[in-house]
Symmetry: C2
Subunit: 234 residues, 2 copies
């Protein structure tokens, strides 16, 4: 079903190409609108969409990801979310909804959360103005294709961003990992040292070397980077 899209995706080299590919996919899957929205990490937020550029600018410029219930829901779920099952009450949310509808975003929508290495997070959404019954039918029929499409689109987006879908990850020694893990769990240095049965000074050495490897300014920064790189299993 996705054959022609995946073929086309193979040849994509830039975000511009990806734009075209998504347009053709929305055609192939009978979607009114479709959007790949990369939210994290590194603060580089961008979107590849079939929406009007003005709405995209408005969304990104106002940092709407912070109030968009779709983004918020996707952040805490694994499985796709249907927009109409979300909570759209609250002043800011209602305003956002109005702006979105005015901008041509369909009232029906379906979004798939996608997560990559180093805390990367993105959404892949389809939307339309269909009736409820049509929409229920549509999502049921296309969920699997959309999941696969989102997977491949994200892979391609990562390649374009980084040159590869492989993240650069510092390598910490076991003890360094232990040390940062304890700190991430909330222990003080004294407690952590105790918990690892080493002197507090030794613990400090680990923290410092980990900080160096991670190019971190301080302990909190080191823990944050280590977590972001998936080095800590907390």
């Amino acid at each position: 079903m996705l054959e022609s899209f995946l073929d086309r995706l193979q040849k994509v080299k830039t975000l511009g190409d990806l734009d075209g590919a998504i347009l053709s996919l929305s055609d192939e899957l009978n979607a009114e609108h479709m959007v790949y929205h990369s939210v994290g990490s590194g603060g580089k937020e961008y979107a590849v969409t079939t929406y009007h550029p003005i709405w995209v600018d408005q969304y990104l410029g106002n940092d709407y990801a912070r109030i968009d219930p779709v983004v918020q829901a996707c952040l805490r779920r694994f499985h796709p979310v249907d927009w109409k099952r979300l909570d759209w009450s609250g002043k800011a949310t209602r305003e956002f909804l109005h702006e979105a509808v005015d901008a041509g975003v369909g009232s029906q929508g379906f979004s798939i959360p996608i997560r990559g290495p180093s805390g990367q997070f993105a959404l892949f959404s389809v939307s339309s103005r269909d009736s409820d019954e049509h929409w229920a039918r549509y999502t049921q029929d296309y969920t699997r294709s959309l999941i696969l499409a989102s997977h491949y689109v994200n892979q391609k987006a990562l390649e374009i961003e980084n040159g590869t879908d492989q993240a650069e990850i510092a390598s910490l020694s076991p003890r360094e990992t232990d040390a940062l893990t304890m700190l991430a769990l909330g222990l003080s240095r004294a407690q952590a040292a105790d918990s690892l049965s080493i002197s507090e000074h030794t613990l400090r050495v680990y923290i410092e070397s980990a900080r160096f490897k991670l190019s971190a300014m301080n302990t909190t920064h080191a823990v944050a980077r280590a977590m972001n790189q998936g080095l800590l299993r907390v």
Copy 2:
């Protein structure tokens, strides 16, 4: 293609059921072995597999996830990895490989990284003793099915673990989020306050209230929890 498996998955209620479902899937997809391996978060590591229980115990007991190149590679990649493209040099790694082969793990393998909310991380793998050509053919033919299967299996695993695939997430105010974000980026309190154009004291108020909401012991802990819950887009 996955129809009967997905139907069966619907009815799964416990990890034991999941075990059976995976067994049937490995049959359906002609896989010699298959394993769903949940690595993070919360330190609750477990595996649902067609391997011999002794190998599973050995693996988990020795914390082999720390040296298993498959896990390490999946941690930093988004797309599936073929085992034979990994670096198997290094003493510990070679020893691990020998033990694995002795335990009946095929030398050919293919693993899909899966990430969920709150830093959840898992792998879905198939392995066999096929020849290289057979294996290349197999992976090519089944990649998409395996990606979908891994998605649904993970969803089910999350449901079993938490009762839902939705993560419990504390809600921080915008300023609290800002404050923790600055700290996660490595700024000191003084710098962070400056960067947000507020007094250092005010910043401290945010950190403290965030710490309270997140039930965190200290700043580092708060940042770690917030990151784990996807509250910070660093």
